[in-house]
């Protein structure tokens, strides 16, 4: 991991953001990532069957180009979803105008939208500010963070992650490869990407990687990062992760490079945890470590049942060590469970042993432990060798206020 600086931004990309008057707040809401030349691209999208217009367009475009993207165009304030034909026309019109502005093919434009569902996107607002946006582009860290800021909706903070590593390319010369990512997401976060929310994530590298190889790296990284988080269990219609490789480092990477794979997973994991930590109304960030399940799939069933249980999540909000709610969620998860054998630990505190209250259970200590902002819960099923790690939040009155307060 490295921090935001001009030296952490992958070479071969420019960034920019402007105000297109989509956000009621009047804040910047339209960002571009522009590759100097068409970049190698791999993407993962929501598994929701109702998907937003830009995702339909993205899939067409990636298929038409064989995985090449010149411009990623991201607007906040409107999800352009469930907006019928007008929504699709708006997405296409935006791509057409961007292609004209940058002298590329329309199919090399990758649009993304996030915000309210069911309201047609006013493409004309985006198109009107394109010249201003094009003029503002830059490859420095300030432009990068402006883009990261513009795509936020209910997020309280920007989410960014970086990695730098020395890799030898085809000519055996060690050169620096950079990976940088930014993303957004706070509510409607339970990305189930195929290979996952409205979570939007853009991961950039200056390595040179073939699109098919890039796709393999992306799927592996997404599966252990964005597919392991949930804020509210609501899988969005717009979730998108885009990985672009510019090649500007001069380092070519083939399949199975362990250092690149590890660095990419680190960046994705960092961003995934930042999204959970900024979950709507969240006052606790919880790591779930499931072990001893019949299979990894069973371990995930248990993690998801716990992460989506309103009773468990409200207990966390109150730092209530009511582990019986965890036992209930374990039981209805659908996973294979021996009710007389499962153990629960809060950090290093044994809470439940063999399906019952542990002899050393100390309610005050348990309460103190889960009063921390971040804590870890370990569950061992003792039925097999399946395991997983999952990150989620509590459910607070603030979440309700954020999502229920409505003014006509």
């Amino acid at each position: 991991m490295s921090d935001l600086s001009n030296n952490s931004i992958p070479r071969g990309f420019k960034f920019g953001a402007v105000k297109a008057a989509l956000k009621a707040s009047g804040r910047p809401d339209f960002a571009l990532i522009v590759a100097d030349v068409p970049a190698s691209a791999a993407a993962a999208f929501t598994s929701n069957r109702v998907i937003a217009a830009p995702l339909i367009v993205d899939k067409e475009h990636l298929s038409a180009t064989g995985g090449r993207v010149r411009v990623a165009a991201i607007n906040a304030g409107n999800a352009n979803c469930a907006a019928g034909e007008p929504g699709l026309r708006a997405a296409r019109a935006t791509c057409e105008a961007i292609a004209k502005e940058f002298g590329c093919r329309e199919q090399e434009v990758f649009p993304s939208s996030t915000g309210i569902i069911g309201v047609p996107l006013p493409a004309e607002k985006l198109i009107a500010v394109l010249p201003e946006l094009a003029a503002s582009l830059g490859s420095d860290s300030d432009r990068f963070s402006e883009a990261a800021h513009a795509i936020l909706t209910t997020d309280l903070v920007e989410k960014m992650a970086f990695a730098r590593l020395e890799l030898k390319g085809g000519d055996r010369t060690a050169r620096e490869v950079r990976i940088a990512a930014f993303g957004k997401g706070s509510g409607m976060i339970y990305p189930q990407l195929v290979p996952h929310a409205t979570m939007l994530v853009y991961v950039l590298t200056d390595a040179a990687i073939d699109p098919a190889v890039l796709d393999g790296y992306l799927r592996a990284a997404v599966d252990v990062s964005f597919n392991r988080i949930s804020v509210d269990g609501d899988t969005s219609t717009n979730d998108t992760v885009l990985l672009l490789a510019s090649g500007a480092s001069g380092v070519t990477i083939g399949e199975g490079d362990p250092a690149f794979e590890a660095a990419l997973i680190d960046v994705c994991n960092s961003l995934a945890r930042q999204i959970v930590a900024d979950g709507e109304g969240a006052s606790h960030v919880v790591e779930l470590r499931i072990a001893g399940a019949a299979s990894d799939a069973d371990a995930l069933l248990i993690a998801r049942a716990i992460a989506h249980s309103p009773l468990v999540k409200t207990a966390w909000a109150g730092s209530d060590p009511n582990w019986g709610r965890l036992a209930a969620a374990i039981g209805y998860s659908g996973a294979q469970v021996d009710p007389a054998r499962f153990d629960i630990r809060f950090g290093n505190l044994q809470i439940c042993k063999d399906g019952g209250r542990a002899p050393e259970f100390d309610e005050a200590a348990a309460h103190e432990y889960i009063s921390q902002h971040e804590f870890s819960i370990s569950i061992d099923l003792h039925v097999g060798h399946g395991s997983c790690v999952f990150w989620t939040t509590d459910l607070t009155a603030q979440y309700i206020h954020i999502n229920a307060d409505y003014s006509t």
Copy 2:
């Protein structure tokens, strides 16, 4: 439907309730239903794989007696779940003491518990008050409602339902048959009975019905009532529905009696809706009518996804007509969906047409409609003939307070 009166209580049963000091409030927390002679019995239990000690005992007992119950014993304040061997011993000790008190077989006692999970049941408290409880029994409506009151936990009101019908028995003489039910449940309500919470429901009739036949009636009624409700999506470890038939009316009922079946469903439906209406923190009761799904199972997938979406439920809490959240839940439900064809109505108001905002969508009218305490949402998928009706609640800050407020 009829109301609570001495004439609405099925003959052949007595009721009573006392304080056993399990509830911290000191309110009555131990109730009995005692059949004059062993009653024909059918039961449905939670599908949770972690089940409470009394359910383990109930299954053994019903199996041993072939479906006969003399005494149903229900305590609130402690769920006797995840309490290991001590929990099982406590349930058995209670049954043994009750059998002795009433001169019946231990296997003719049907125990139920509701309350906190993970704390062994103090059986000695129940056993100590048995003589007082036995002395208080009566067959009148006051005793019935005292029993209904004692089993409540976070419930705000008692839940009762009644039906009376004229049926001809084997001797062709029309006689009155009564059905009465009481139950509890407010949180951890998403009963998935095999054939469903901690919902506890006791349905009584004075018809004479063979246990195997009774089981068929119960399964059919449960499937369209208690298996069609959710407050929070948390399936309890203790959910139980017990149907007892005393035979005291003199009317014998065989398989497939449409009048009895309809009356039983009416009673179960009434109780199921009362449970939803008293859902923890609920400020809105919502009926979901799903039609045009590929199958009934698909319709249920959609109803459940909506009923369990925190974003949909918080929007309802704010009377926010944000139907895009409904569209997202429809999309991730797992059901077959054509994103360009589904329609959504709030009552008679067309909200979404062909997957997009309806031309006649009137936000103010939609907001006004769902500002009502009870409202109905209809969704037509236009892909098949599957349908279902489902009842649920909104998710409010009050729900969070009820479940998060913890004092050491």
